[in-house]
Symmetry: C2
Subunit: 418 residues, 2 copies
C-alpha cells in the first residue's frame, strides 16, 4: 500500500517533468487561448464546483467562522477565479524574454534569456481559489504544476482541477502539465519532497508547522511563503494624523491577511501624544491590544504583552504595541521579531526614513504608507502566487517572472579556448 | 564536547549575522580599500602561507598527482589570489543598484533595489585559492561569509584566512564578517546546516557525495555547484573541421575542470566521416575513449561504454562517445544524462541550432563554440564563486550580482488601502 502511494507520486512527478518539455515551447497565443477557455469553463460549470464545495463545508461545521469563510465558494468568488485566469492571459509571457545581450572580444555573442523553471509543486492550505490561480500562473510561465491542497478543501480543489484539466485535454495538451494529488494521506507530501530529480521547486503556502515540515524534509529547493509579522513604526518626527490613519488601515482594513500589521512600534517621545487617541480608535473598532509596560501606563485596559506576542501573527483583530527608545531600537526589534515581509515607517525626517528603509531586512519596506500594499496586483505585476518571505530567487510578491529561471544562449563561429 | 562544538558553530553563525548588518551599509570606497590591503597582505606574508601549505602537502603524499597539484600553492598562485582580490575591488558594487523603479496610480513610488543576502556559507574541497576568492566576493557584495574547506587543505586555508582577518581587524571591521570553521570534525557541518535563523544560503562546491549530504541535511536554502557532465553534439549539418577543433578543445584543453566535455554525441549520418579522424586525434593525445557499439565498429580499440559512463564526470582524459539517430535523440540524451551545466551543438543548420538551444535544459547552451567558455571571466562578469547547476536564484557563473537579493523600497505620502 505504501509502495503503491510512493509509486503513484513518483509517476505524477515523472509525467510532470515530461510534460514540462512541451510546455516550455508552447506559443503565447496557444497558452492564452487555453487560459480563456479555462476561464469560460469555470463559469459554465460552476454548479459542479458549488456542489463539491458544499461537501467540504458540511465537513467543516465545527470550525470557526473565519475558517469556513476562507473555504466557502459562491458565484462571486468563482467569477473572481475566472477573471483572474483572463487577467493571466493578458499578462506578457515571460518565456523567451531577453534579459541581457552582449558580445565578447572573441566574437562570442551571449544572450541571457528567461526560461521556465520546469516542474513547480505547491503545497497550500484552505482557500480553493489558489488551485485555479496557481494552475493559470504556472501554465502561462511554461511550467508543469503539482498541486497539493489541504484535506479540508479537497472536494472543491478537485472540482476546479477536473474542469481545468478537461480544457487541457480538449486542446490536446500533455496529461502531466497540471496535476493534483488527490489523496489526503500526508505521506504523499513526504514522498513528493524527495523527488528532486523531477520537481524543480516547491512552494509551501501556509502556517509555521507546514513550512517547517517542508523545509525539514525537502530535497527540492523551497521558496517559503511564510507568515507576515508586519510592523508600522511611528517615528518621533511623524505626522501623527497620518500615522493614525496608516496604522488603523494596516491593522483593520483586512486583519486576516499576511500584509496586515501585527505589531505597532512607537517612539518614546511621541508615545504620550500619539497613543491615547490611537488606542481608543483601535478599542472602538474591537481590536484587542497587547502592549508593553509603557503602553499599559497610558491605557490601563491594555493587556500586557509577552515575548511570544511580538513573535505572533494574529491574523485577527489583535495588535501588539511597543514603545521604543529610538529608531535604532525599532530597527533591531523588527529584524529580530519580524518575518521579513513588510514593514513601514511614518516620519517626516528624511534621514530617519533612509536609515529605516536601508536597514530593515524585509522584502518590502515602506515610508508613510500602509503595509497592506504588498500584493502583486497593488504593485502592478498582475496575479501572484503569493508573497515570498525568502531572499533567494523570489522575494516579496511572486508573479509570472518569478516563476522563470534563465539560461545563457551563446552563439559562436568556431571559438575554442586558448 | 559535542555540546561545545554545537555552541561554537552557533556562535560563529550568530556573529556572522550581526556583522552582516554593518557590512550591508559599508561604502564601496571602504570595501575597495580593504580589498586592496588584503591583496597586498597576501603578497607580503606569502612565506607563512607557503609554510602552512607545506604542512598540508606533507600529509597528502599518498594521494595522486592531480590531487597534490590542486592542493599546492606557490608564488605564482599566491600572486593570482592577490590579483583576484584587486580585480574584485575594480568590479562595480552591486549593493544599492536600482533594478527597476515605477510609480503607481495612487502615488506610491516603488523601487526594486539590490541588497546583500546576509550570511553566505561555503562548503568546498581542496583548492585553497577558493578561500581568498570567496572572502573577496562576499565582502564586496556586503555579505558575511562562513567558510568550511576540506580537511586536506586546513592549514593553507587557515594561513590565508588569518592574514585576511588581520586586515579586517586593522580596518576596525566587525569580527564576524569573515569566518572559517577551523575544526575538521564533520559534525560541524551538520550543525551549521540547521542554523537557518542565521545563515541565508549555503553553497556547496564539490563532488556528488558532498552535495547530496548538504541537500539532505540542510534547512538553509542551497545553491548547488555540482558536477559538469558537458556534451558536444556534432550535427548532420556540422562543419566537420570546426567540430573536430571544438570537440578537441572542449575535452583536452583542461580536462580537470567542470566545463570540459565528458561526452561527445555524433549524428549517425556523419559518424563514418567524422569519427575516424576525430578518434585518432584523441588517441594521439592520450584520451581513453568509451563508446557505443557504433563507435566501436569504427575504431575497435575503443572500450565499450556502460550506462554509468554516460552519467560520469571523468575530470580526466577519458571521453564517452555515442552515435545518435538524430537531433531529438541528442536533446533527450543530454537532458537525461547531463548535469544541466554546459552543452554545445556544432551545426550550420539554423533550425537545428534553434531547437537545440531552446530545448536543452542547461545553464549554458552553445552553438559552434567550445563548452570551456562557461566561466565568469570568459563571460565578462569578473571573478566568480563558481558555476551554479541549480535553476533558482543563480544559474551558471555566479558572480557579485548573484550574491545579492533585492528588496522593494516604497515611498508614499500617507497612502492607505481601500
Amino acid at each position: 500500500m505504501k509502495q503503491d502511494l510512493k509509486k503513484e507520486i513518483e509517476n505524477i512527478a515523472k509525467q510532470a517533468k515530461a510534460a514540462s518539455r512541451s510546455l516550455a515551447v508552447l506559443s503565447s497565443a496557444t497558452k492564452d487561448v487555453v487560459l480563456k477557455d479555462m476561464s469560460a469553463a469555470l463559469l459554465s460549470k460552476q454548479a459542479s464546483i458549488l456542489k463539491a464545495n458544499q461537501k467540504d463545508i458540511s465537513k467543516a461545521h465545527a470550525k470557526n467562522k473565519a475558517f469556513i469563510d476562507r473555504l466557502t465558494l459562491n458565484e462571486a468568488r468563482i467569477k473572481q477565479m475566472a477573471d483572474s485566469l483572463l487577467d493571466i492571459a493578458k499578462l506578457k509571457d515571460p518565456v523567451g524574454q531577453l534579459i541581457r545581450a552582449w558580445d565578447r572580444p572573441n566574437g562570442l555573442s551571449i544572450k541571457k534569456v528567461r526560461s521556465p523553471i520546469g516542474v513547480v509543486a505547491i503545497i497550500y492550505e484552505s482557500r480553493p481559489n489558489v488551485t485555479a490561480d496557481c494552475i493559470g500562473l504556472c501554465f502561462k510561465s511554461g511550467n508543469s504544476v503539482i498541486l497539493r491542497g489541504g484535506s479540508e478543501a479537497i472536494n472543491s480543489n478537485l472540482g476546479i482541477y477536473n474542469i481545468l484539466k478537461e480544457v487541457m485535454q480538449k486542446h490536446g495538451l500533455m496529461e502531466g502539465a497540471i496535476n493534483l494529488i488527490a489523496t489526503t494521506k500526508h505521506q504523499a507530501v513526504d514522498y513528493l519532497l524527495k523527488l528532486n530529480n523531477y520537481v524543480d521547486v516547491v512552494i509551501p503556502r501556509g502556517g509555521e508547522e507546514l513550512i517547517n515540515k517542508v523545509v525539514a524534509l525537502s530535497r527540492i529547493p523551497v521558496i517559503k511563503h511564510y507568515k507576515g509579522i508586519c510592523h508600522v513604526y511611528v517615528d518621533e518626527n511623524a505626522d501623527l494624523n497620518m500615522a493614525e490613519n496608516i496604522c488603523f488601515n494596516a491593522k483593520c482594513q483586512r486583519p486576516g491577511v499576511c500584509n496586515a500589521m501585527e505589531s505597532m512600534l512607537v517612539h518614546r517621545d511621541v508615545a504620550v501624544r500619539f497613543l491615547p487617541g490611537m488606542l481608543k480608535k483601535f478599542k472602538d473598532a474591537g481590536v484587542e491590544i497587547r502592549g508593553c509596560a509603557f503602553t499599559k501606563r497610558i491605557a490601563n485596559w491594555v493587556k500586557l504583552a509577552t515575548q511570544k506576542d511580538y513573535h505572533t501573527e494574529y491574523s485577527d483583530l489583535i495588535l501588539s504595541v511597543k514603545v521604543v527608545a529610538d529608531l535604532d531600537a525599532a530597527i533591531v526589534h523588527i529584524n529580530e521579531y519580524g518575518s521579513h515581509h513588510s514593514d513601514s515607517i511614518v516620519t517626516d525626517d528624511n534621514r530617519a526614513a533612509e536609515k529605516f528603509l536601508q536597514q530593515v531586512d524585509s522584502a518590502c519596506v515602506y515610508l508613510n504608507a500602509s503595509t497592506r500594499f504588498t500584493d502583486g496586483n497593488q504593485f502592478g505585476m498582475g496575479a501572484e502566487m503569493g508573497i515570498s518571505t525568502d531572499k533567494l530567487h523570489a522575494r516579496g510578491p511572486m508573479g509570472l517572472e518569478e516563476l522563470t529561471t534563465y539560461k545563457y544562449i551563446i552563439h559562436g563561429n568556431g571559438q575554442i579556448r586558448c
